[in-house]
């Protein structure tokens, strides 16, 4: 087996802009899936609206491309009905934290055994570059000419309202930590959330002064440093994993990684 077996390469090139970070997530996800034995018979992808949502169409899995913001109720129901399946959610920050925010806080509370990969590009990319829930305060966007008015949502804080949840922070530049986070998240017996900083050069980067995707990646390289081992909290621009007490909620199946270990 190889990464390309996980991908519908005949549909390439993808619709993503040159320099987009989403492909770096898909490649690493496909590679981890290959390593731990996730295939179309034991795994379902659930994706949301936004550029990231297209990922399900490019992977060799059964895939549910949901309405905007509705990945989590769909994913949870699939896991409930078919606890033997690995359910992987891939979605953007706007889909997860804004329009899907109510589902996010309640999925965190219910602790279903599903894994969420959040492509966090701090912008609504597909619609042209409007302020999102994760846009840093003061950022000029298509819908905030004077700078984004509010501070971004605290995803780590939200996820960790459940002492049993799993939160990881990484960037698309840091492929090693991203790989580790995806592997551990899939194996985690409960709700796992990977917050992946990812560049959107066309509809965010250029507007805020970056000349290329390379420059944005270089910024991730310079800004982000590994957090402490066994961290209970990550500072801004720290890479790492914050793990709660692992428990499997009543009625849910054990770890979703049955085939891979």
């Amino acid at each position: 087996m190889a990464i390309k077996d996980k991908l519908k390469t005949h549909l390439f090139p993808t619709i993503w802009c040159p320099g987009c970070g989403i492909g770096l997530i898909m490649q690493q996800l496909a590679s981890v899936m290959d390593e731990v034995g996730l295939d179309k018979d034991n795994t379902v992808l659930v994706t949301g609206i936004g550029c990231t949502g297209r990922m399900g169409a490019y992977m060799n899995f059964e895939s549910v491309y949901t309405l905007h913001g509705r990945t989590l109720p769909v994913a949870e129901a699939i896991k409930t009905v078919r606890p033997e399946l690995n359910v992987i959610v891939v979605s953007g920050d706007g889909d997860m934290a804004s329009i899907g925010g109510n589902h996010l806080i309640h999925s965190i509370r219910r602790n279903p055994n599903i894994t969420v990969l959040c492509n966090n590009n701090e912008i609504y990319g597909l619609t042209g570059g409007q302020t999102g829930p994760t846009t840093p305060q003061g950022t000029t966007t298509l819908s905030s000419p004077a700078g984004a008015a509010y501070s971004p949502i605290n995803l780590q804080g939200l996820v960790n309202t459940n002492p049993n949840a799993f939160y990881a922070k990484t960037t698309v530049y840091h492929q090693g930590p991203m790989r580790k986070a995806i592997k551990e998240a899939i194996a985690w017996p409960g709700f796992s959330f990977i917050d992946i900083a990812s560049q959107c050069i066309e509809n965010n980067g250029r507007r805020i002064g970056f000349a290329s995707a390379y420059e944005m990646l270089q910024q991730y390289k310079t800004e982000y440093k590994p957090g402490p081992r066994d961290a209970t909290h990550l500072e801004p621009h720290q890479l790492g994993i914050v793990k709660g007490e692992p428990v499997t909620v009543a009625g849910a199946a054990p770890s979703g990684n049955g085939q891979g270990e």
Binding site: D41, A57, E62, Y65, P73, V74, T80, V81, R82, L85
Partner: protein
């Protein structure tokens, strides 16, 4: 088995279980809440039946779509604004072709409206609530026994039409208790029609317009029209097997009353004076069935719990004017019907005395057996 008192809402749940439902998600809202509560009680004793009290109706409606794709017959129940919140997911189900059942126990709207009063004002929303064009199925029973029976039909139609089918009820019917023996009601159950997720394929279930291979077809009008017409034709054919309606009362009268759901029961004392057409399948409309009998009647009166939602539909179906008796603000009583008939000069002269003498319907007796061809595909 035995006859016992059953509530309308309970009968819906029991019908769903009889149809093989394996997943319920919902959010409490009057007057549908008994379905949620009783589903939770059933789930406690039956681990194969999965239950979620979700954070809202948006989550509930999306969860039943995911559950259905995963392999479980699924349903939700709601009322009023909850039904509004579910419309986006209902459209998603129509686009993708997901069997599911959505129960709407109607109250008086819009907005929070009158939460405990019966209404019939969600007919248009149950047809056109989501965006775009799609073919809705909606059944509206009149009795507790029918709540059970047509919920099973709704699950069957959902499988065959691959769409979210609506069961319409109302605060009156949902909370009505009648003595019935549900075991005497035999409806064949249709098996699942779509292979569950992870059955060896790599399907993409997309709310976005796509080609068969998953590539976006978002600017291809011809492909959209091809897919839309294929779905519409498939659902039209399925609808032929679910043409549920009732034609009765005094067929020799020169006036036809159209009433459905609980309103048909309330209007029962008018039986000696009018013919009755009761659509049980509200959507798709029963153009052929109504069209065959309507020419026999000089006048048509639509009695309904909204300001003309179904009357407008009848006028469109028959291309002729109809008289209207709207029962508004939850006032769904015989008195209100008589006042409405009087306003349009259609109150039967003998009404005040003869109605009292007319054989009033036994509360436990179901209306005459409705006509419809049996579903073809059974399992």
């Amino acid at each position: 088995m035995t006859k016992r008192l059953v509530q309308g809402n309970e009968a819906v749940l029991l019908g769903a279980i009889r149809a093989g439902a394996g997943y319920y998600a919902g959010y409490p809202i009057s007057p549908s809440s008994e379905i949620l509560a009783q589903a939770s009680q059933y789930a406690a004793g039956h681990p194969e039946f999965r239950f979620l009290q979700a954070e809202d109706e948006i989550a509930s409606a999306n969860a039943i779509m995911g559950a259905s794709l995963a392999g479980a017959k699924s349903f939700t129940a709601t009322s009023g604004p909850g039904f509004s919140l579910m419309q986006e997911a209902i459209g998603y189900g129509h686009k993708i072709g997901i069997p599911a059942v959505v129960v709407n126990v109607m109250r008086v709207g819009p907005a929070t409206g009158m939460p405990t009063m019966p209404g019939q004002g969600d007919l248009a929303q149950s047809r056109y609530g989501s965006t775009g064009d799609y073919t809705s199925f909606a059944f509206y029973p009149s009795t507790v026994a029918e709540c059970y029976e047509y919920t099973i039909h709704a699950f069957n139609a959902a499988e065959e039409s691959r769409s979210p089918v609506i069961i319409l009820s109302d605060a009156f019917l949902g909370h009505l208790n009648e003595v019935v023996d549900l075991d005497e009601i035999k409806v064949p159950v249709v098996k699942r029609t779509i292979p569950p997720l992870a059955s060896g394929g790599t399907r993409l279930f997309s709310g976005v317009a796509t080609y068969a291979d998953g590539e976006p077809a978002t600017a291809d009008s011809d492909e959209y029209i091809r897919q839309y017409e294929e779905m519409r034709e498939m659902r039209r054919k399925v609808a032929e097997r679910y043409a549920f309606h009732e034609f009765g009362w005094n067929k020799a009268s020169d006036t036809l009353v159209i009433a459905f759901g609980i309103t048909r029961r309330v209007a029962q004392p008018l039986a000696p004076y009018f013919a009755l057409f009761r659509p049980i399948r509200i959507w798709p409309t029963l153009d052929e069935e109504l069209g065959a009998i309507a020419p026999r009647y000089k006048k048509i009166i639509v009695i309904e719990g909204s300001d003309g939602q179904y009357a407008n539909v009848v006028e469109r179906m028959l291309l002729r004017r109809v008289e209207r008796v709207p029962l508004l603000g939850g006032r769904m009583s015989l008195e209100a019907i008589r006042e409405g008939l009087d306003r349009i000069g259609m109150l039967p002269k003998e009404s005040s005395t003869a109605a009292a003498e007319a054989p009033a319907e036994d509360g436990a007796k179901a209306p005459a057996k409705p006509k419809a061809k049996a579903p073809a595909k059974v399992g």
